[in-house]
């Protein structure tokens, strides 16, 4: 089961510069574990002992996983996961 994962610029040093990688897993946590096996160090940038890092946002098909099930969010074949750093953006 293949899931597409979009990697933000600041984390591409872990993916050999790739902006789009693929991975597998029935949940977000499994997916991150799978990514770590091929892109060592990535997991530590996404998660800490409390779960997802505070300034890391992860979206499953554009919806914030914090409102879906966090690290336990179930994933399906063909899903797209997007990782973005939390920024102030523009509004304001």
């Amino acid at each position: 089961m293949a899931i597409k994962v979009r990697i933000p610029t600041i984390l591409r040093s872990y993916t050999g510069g790739e902006k789009l990688v693929s991975g597998e897993g029935a949940t977000l946590e499994e997916l991150i574990g799978d990514l770590e096996s091929r892109h060592p160090g990535l997991k530590g940038r996404l998660m800490d002992e409390n779960g997802l890092r505070r300034f890391v946002n992860v979206y499953l098909n554009d919806e914030d996983v914090r409102f879906l099930g966090g690290l336990g969010t179930p994933l399906s074949d063909g899903d797209t996961v997007t990782v973005l750093p939390a920024v102030a953006g523009g509004a304001g």
């Binding site: 600041i10 554009d62 914090r66 939390a86 523009g90 509004a91 304001g92």
Partner: protein
């Protein structure tokens, strides 16, 4: 409607139905036209509340200098209020914001300090905090952390929506300072059982996310996740497409962040239709399209417009 002054005319904006974009008579989408405020954006509400709260607390006294990190609209609102109330305003603004916003600020007499484009508003906030430290007599209202920001929406925007549409089921707004969502969200949650509060977050080009590492991110102090039902990330392409769709089908000429909110609103509408549920979905038209004409957002193909928008702060 008659008002004693321009400042008194903030708020009480129209809520208009979108009969062509609404999928069915049971699932309706409504636009709250915040571009009808005195300076043309939703930010007139929080700007005025923050200024008046600071006056009540004695922080702002005649002749004071106000300092604020802003990508535009809040600055423009503050500039107007500052001019009418006799304050000086200094705005810290990322350099990748549109020329119209800069001209408008200068027109109302504000001084602009530019912050680097890379990092977007994060950098503006950082620069403003530094300036505030070096100039202790300046008053930073700080929209990202000032409770008067969400209070303005709790006291005005929220009640207006409920009065005009007691059957509201969903509220959608763009996520920036989070003030609109926190204020309207808290108000509606207290009064409308089961109401859904949904954030539409603009997803910018890569330049805006140009942080050095993930520990340097920014979450506005006002943000309280528990107020939201969920949160969507909307690409520039989707926001642009919806902005044009709103103009073409319903005749509403709005800024690009409105397309972002509309995209999420229409997603919720489709979900309600599929589930066979009735819905009255309100979204915020944060401003009109005037300030974004120079970005090329409304001309040529969507791909061209998206390329031109790359690296710009469009909300």
């Amino acid at each position: 409607m008659r008002f004693d002054s321009l400042l008194d005319s903030v708020g009480r904006t129209p809520l208009v139905g979108l009969p062509r974009l609404s999928p069915s008579p049971e699932v309706r989408v409504w636009a709250k036209l915040e571009d009808r405020n005195p300076t043309g954006s939703v930010k007139d509400r929080p700007a005025l509340w923050m200024v008046e709260q600071a006056e009540k607390e004695g922080l702002l006294t005649p002749g004071c200098t106000i300092l604020e990190p802003t990508s535009g609209n809040t600055g423009i609102s503050l500039a107007m209020a500052a001019r009418l109330k006799g304050y000086k305003l200094i705005c810290v603004m990322p350099e990748n914001t549109s020329e119209e916003r800069r001209q408008l600020l200068r027109m109302w007499g504000a001084e602009i300090v530019s912050s680097p484009a890379a990092g977007g508003s994060n950098e503006a906030v950082r620069v403003a905090k530094e300036l505030a430290e070096r100039n202790p007599d300046w008053v930073m209202l700080y929209q990202y952390g000032n409770p008067a920001n969400w209070r303005a929406h709790y006291e005005t925007t929220g009640p207006e929506i409920l009065e005009d549409l007691p059957s509201v089921t969903h509220f959608v707004a763009g996520l920036g300072t989070t003030g609109t969502l926190m204020g309207v969200g808290r108000f509606l949650r207290e009064r409308v059982p089961g109401v859904q509060i949904v954030a539409a977050e603009p997803r910018y080009g890569e330049l805006v996310y140009g942080l050095r590492n993930v520990d340097e991110g920014f979450i506005p102090e006002l943000y309280d996740e528990s107020v939201l039902t969920t949160r969507f990330s909307v690409t520039s392409a989707d926001a642009l497409r919806r902005t044009r769709e709103l103009l073409a089908t319903e005749g509403i000429f709005a800024g690009i962040s409105t397309g972002c909110a509309l995209h999420a609103a229409l997603g919720l509408a489709a979900k309600a239709v599929k589930a066979g549920q009735r819905a009255d979905i309100v979204f915020i038209v944060a401003d009109g399209g005037w300030k974004y004409l120079s970005t090329g957002a409304y001309e040529g193909t969507l791909d061209e417009a998206e390329d031109r928008l790359e690296g710009q702060l469009w909300a």
